[in-house]
Symmetry: C2
Subunit: 115 residues, 2 copies
DNA sequence: TTCATTTATCGTATATTTACGATGAACGAT
DNA sequence: ATCGTTCATCGTAAATATACGATAAATGAA
């Protein structure tokens, strides 16, 4: 995101980009899928299902948590992660609204000499 | 994405991450919105609507083109960009299906001691 | 208390992204 | 042919992201 000069874009644009950024790595895409299987939530279990070191997985979990996709609950020395369904619904809604917006103007030009 | 070790994740995971990556910057989010306004498609016009240098905008356009969101048509010395509506529909569909998948298991645990 | 387990964080290396000025290629106009 | 316009690409700097080993913090168990 570089400096991402937040002031230079609208909040809507920045927030949508942030949601997309959380999903912009296959490991994080997979983590959310794993967490949607009710029975899996321990960090260690997630690590075992990914081709990445524990520290790296922890880093990805942190990013997902930062954006809001997941929450973590401490259970003794372990941490149980779970999806934040409220945020999930919000994120999906934002994406769908965005797609609806950009689909509206049905500009079907660009038929020739495609680069 | 680093090496992104494509082999380590499924095609589905990698493709969804790629779609998300294209939307993971506010400038690209904005570019697609701009292009959805039928009357704007010239690269120069897009540059004028963004707080970024021409070279940078061209780079963002290249990324959007790489993933498939847009196409470019050469018109003399100018280039007219437009949305790829087919891809747009496909991308939205992929995202919606993904969200439906991870929403399915309604794991509403994680109520206490949230980190 | 001491040990083993689990996970976050630190330090760090490498890769990628973002940004911009400069340059080059393509083309219309003169 | 030359000039001006438009845009892609090159070179490069700086910021982020990704990955991992090592370590620290927390806690249950012995």
């Amino acid at each position: 995101m570089s400096a991402a000069k937040t002031e230079k874009f609208t909040t809507e644009e920045t927030e949508l980009a942030d949601i997309a950024k959380a999903l912009a790595h296959p490991a994080r895409v997979k983590i959310l899928k794993i967490l949607s299987n009710k029975n899996i939530c321990m960090c260690g279990d997630i690590v075992n299902l990914l081709p990445l070191a524990q520290a790296t997985v922890s880093q990805h979990l942190k990013e997902l948590k930062r954006v809001g996709f997941i929450q973590g609950e401490i259970e003794g020395p372990k941490t149980c992660y779970c999806l934040n369904n409220t945020f999930l619904a919000k994120a999906e809604d934002s994406l769908i609204k965005y797609f609806n917006k950009i689909k509206k103007g049905k500009n079907s030009s660009c038929k020739t000499k495609k680069r």
